[in-house]
Amino acid sequence: MKYLSFRLQLYLILLFAVMTLLVLIPLPHLGPDFPGRWVLLLAAVDLFAVGGWFFLIKPYRYLASQSRKFMEGFIPMTDLLESPMMYSPSSEQTLRRLSQLAVRADAIDLSKRQAQYRALQNQINPHFLYNTLDGIRSEALLAGMDSLADMTEALASFFRYTISRTENLVTIEEELENCRTYFKIQQYRFGSRLRLEIAWDEEDWEVIRKALIPKLTLQPVIENSIIHGTELKIGEGVTRIILERSQTRTVIRVRDNGVGMGEEQLRELNGKLRAGEQEPDSSTHGREGGVALTNVNNRIRLIFGEEYGIHVYSMLGEGTEVEISVPLTAPGAGEQKP
């Protein structure tokens, strides 16, 4: 029985019926001196107490704990709706209605963003953009400006990957290639101050490179590490991508030796990532660093489930490590999730 209100009604009816029977119905065959009525009453009371604990109080405590977790932002509304228990049908309907309203608001927001994105895409016809960039590259080569040509080529590759490809999941190899391109563009800005290192275990490379991750998972994290970590640091900034796998997971660690963050900021950021908070409006939010990470984290959790996502380790003045955990989805690599 899913609803607590129904359980309570049933429990009260049973309680009333049993107690009435025990008090009113004569038990002549037990004899006048037999204290059986009281024994039976006591047994019934015990039975109802135990039954009440399992049938009412325990489910109520579970529901109260779920509500508290929802209020504190630990679980989303969908989990509350999928709960095996509910207070009453009307409370469930209220929740569903609220959820629909929230989803509708999200959908409106999403469609607005998609419309903006499409408008942007239409304004800048991708082929027109690539052709123009190729034109600039040719001109630069003819003028003997090799570095400008390289930079334009990198920019064209970056746009081709981010705008033209529409699939949700890409291989790690493709994502790494885009990261290298992005880093190349940034190196024109920062010069030799920036260094990118990518490390993996040779024996795992064949599986790791084919593993699938959401498109644009790594580039925003690297961008974040450059802008909020190494850019503010004096001296060489090293960003290191470490790729590892276990039987069921791919773990990507993006580590920088930048300025890091303090205990409170780290706690706040990990709290947001844990709760799967929606992306705040960057125009009103001062620290855009968290925006990229929460965005990537939300996409991972939406695609693979809430047991995957991002966790951040950091120490003020010493650097930050972003650990991205996704299921291992490469073919022939053990159990596949989801």
Binding site: K69, E263, R274, H311, E318
Partner: protein, 507 residues
């Protein structure tokens, strides 16, 4: 590919309204020795409860060998196949080592078959080949007769036989000497090579650096940073981080004190301490701090035992030079003379506090010889309370002593000693089990006690921060042979010892 033996994913636990673990993530792979540097102990017990007993989590997931064993969605209350080894041996006393190794294995029909036990144990012993580490595990010996190293290795062996893939070692260095730690390190590496994973919990980064392949910094209920210690860059970054973020003020204070000049040679010592049990004779000057580091645990235990029985024949003798001048030396100290000696025992917060008494009673209990009116004079007690709050910066007098935290209890004991004003204080492993914040407090309080003219004798197996207080270090070998180092020669001490790098850099 490395199997993840343990994975904590954003684990959050609560006790009442208080968050204990806060989005704590930790990943331990097979064959790794992960050092958990506990900057403070907040949330550490919860972490161990989760790892060992699968207690319910408020949020997050726990994976063991890549299987979800605990999550906020589902409670599975069962003991995990994880072994914890700490300063208290988990071996059953009264049973032989062989019984300890085999009885807890599944298969009750073999309970009384010694031959079967031996057959069962033999492959494991052969694999370990303990002789190459210079270690012997006496299978017939009762568990309580084992020395600390044998006991720890036996517990590891038992974990291996039980198939526990994760073995947690908590503050083992306070039990083992430097040499024994080296042997243990070899044993750990041996099993790590066989795919077992170790979590080494310690308060000292130096230990973690020498024992572990990976380090994680645990602070206020979460893991803040991890680093591969094999990678020089990451190790250097972690080193710097620990210094900058957690230990800067401590380091500044300590290094200031350490930079001080060597004490001038004084003609007359304040007292001489003799322990016939070893034998040992140490002279101490007023306000001087001497650290006795035992390279073997047996002489340390002998001395601690002798100290705990002050009125017996083999007790430690204290000769106070000035006061005893002209007197014939008393072989056995009378109780009044013992008032001049304060002892801070190894597990002082558990053994030197009377939990059912008030904080004030605990503070004043040794003061009657100095202030006979103490129990009748309310004003005097109020003054003591004021002084206590001034020095420690906190008022704990509204509570009973049983409610104090470990940190508060430790402070209370040191304050009791400070107010007692003894001639000498003997502290057994004073930094054992203390996190960075408590270590700073202990360091300051011992400094204050010394400033009052009390000589301090620190007895220790693991040096921890004892070097930072010492004017002299006496290292005592297994046969009670000793080597003395004055401050000028501290740079010659082994480099693995915490704080020696400071003296080496200076020299």
């Amino acid at each position: 590919m490395k199997t993840e033996v343990l994975r904590l994913e954003k684990v959050t636990t609560k006790k009442g309204e208080r968050t204990e673990l806060d989005a704590c993530s930790l990943r331990i792979t097979e064959g790794s020795v992960t050092g958990l540097l506990a900057v403070n102990t907040y949330g550490l017990e919860s972490l161990l409860d989760i790892l060992l007993f699968n207690l319910p989590v408020y949020y997050g997931h726990v994976y063991y060998c890549e299987k979800c064993i605990n999550s906020w969605k589902e409670e599975k209350r069962m003991r995990n196949p994880v072994t914890l080894i700490d300063s208290k041996s988990a071996l059953a006393e009264g049973m032989s080592v062989l019984d300890n190794l085999c009885v807890f294995r599944p298969g009750k029909e073999e309970l009384i078959r010694k031959k079967a036990f031996l057959e069962m144990t033999e492959p494991y012993l052969e694999d370990l080949d303990s002789e190459r580490f210079g270690l012997r595990i006496p299978l017939e010996s009762p568990a309580e007769k084992l020395d600390p190293l044998q006991s720890v290795v036996t517990q590891i062996l038992r974990a291996v036989m039980l198939g526990h893939r994760l073995i947690i070692l908590r503050e083992i260095s306070s039990l083992l000497s430097e040499e024994q730690m080296e042997v243990l390190s070899g044993v750990i590496r041996h099993y790590a090579d066989h795919g077992f994973a170790f979590l080494y919990i310690s308060m000292h980064f130096e230990e973690i650096r020498s024992m572990c392949t990976r380090a994680a910094i645990f602070n206020n209920g979460t893991v803040e940073m991890t680093a591969d210690l094999g990678d020089e860059e990451q190790r250097g970054s972690l080193d710097a981080a620990i210094y900058h973020v957690y230990a800067k003020s401590f380091y500044r204070n300590v290094s200031g004190a350490m930079s001080g000049e060597e004490r001038p040679e004084e003609q007359k010592p304040l007292l001489t301490i003799r322990a016939q049990a070893l034998p040992l004779e140490v002279s101490l000057h007023k306000g001087e701090c001497v650290t006795l580091q035992f390279l073997d645990t047996k002489p340390y235990q002998k001395l601690v035992r002798a100290l705990s029985r002050p009125l017996e024949e083999d007790a430690v003798e204290f000769d106070f030079v000035e006061e005893d001048a002209g007197e014939s030396r008393k072989r056995r100290p009378d109780p009044d003379r013992l008032r001049r000696v304060a002892v801070f025992s190894e597990n002082a917060p558990e053994t030197m506090i009377f939990p059912e008494m008030s904080v004030m009673d605990n503070l004043c209990m040794n003061m009657d010889h100095a202030f006979p009116q103490i129990w009748r004079n309310r004003r005097m007690r109020a003054m003591m309370k004021e002084e206590y709050i001034r020095i420690t910066g906190r008022d704990i007098f509204g509570r009973s002593a049983g409610e104090l935290t470990r940190e508060e209890a430790t402070e209370l004991i040191y304050m009791r000693i400070l107010m007692q004003r003894p001639k000498v204080m003997i502290a057994a492993q004073p930094f054992k089990g203390a996190d960075v914040s408590l270590r700073q407090k202990i360091w300051k309080l011992i400094g204050r006690i010394r400033a009052e003219g009390t000589a301090v004798l620190i007895l220790t197996v693991s040096m921890s921060d004892a070097l930072t207080l010492a004017d002299r270090v006496i290292r005592i070998g297994p046969g009670a042979e000793s080597a003395e180092y004055k401050k000028g020669a501290f740079s010659e001490l082994p480099p693995s010892m915490p704080w020696t790098s400071f003296y080496r850099t200076r020299s």
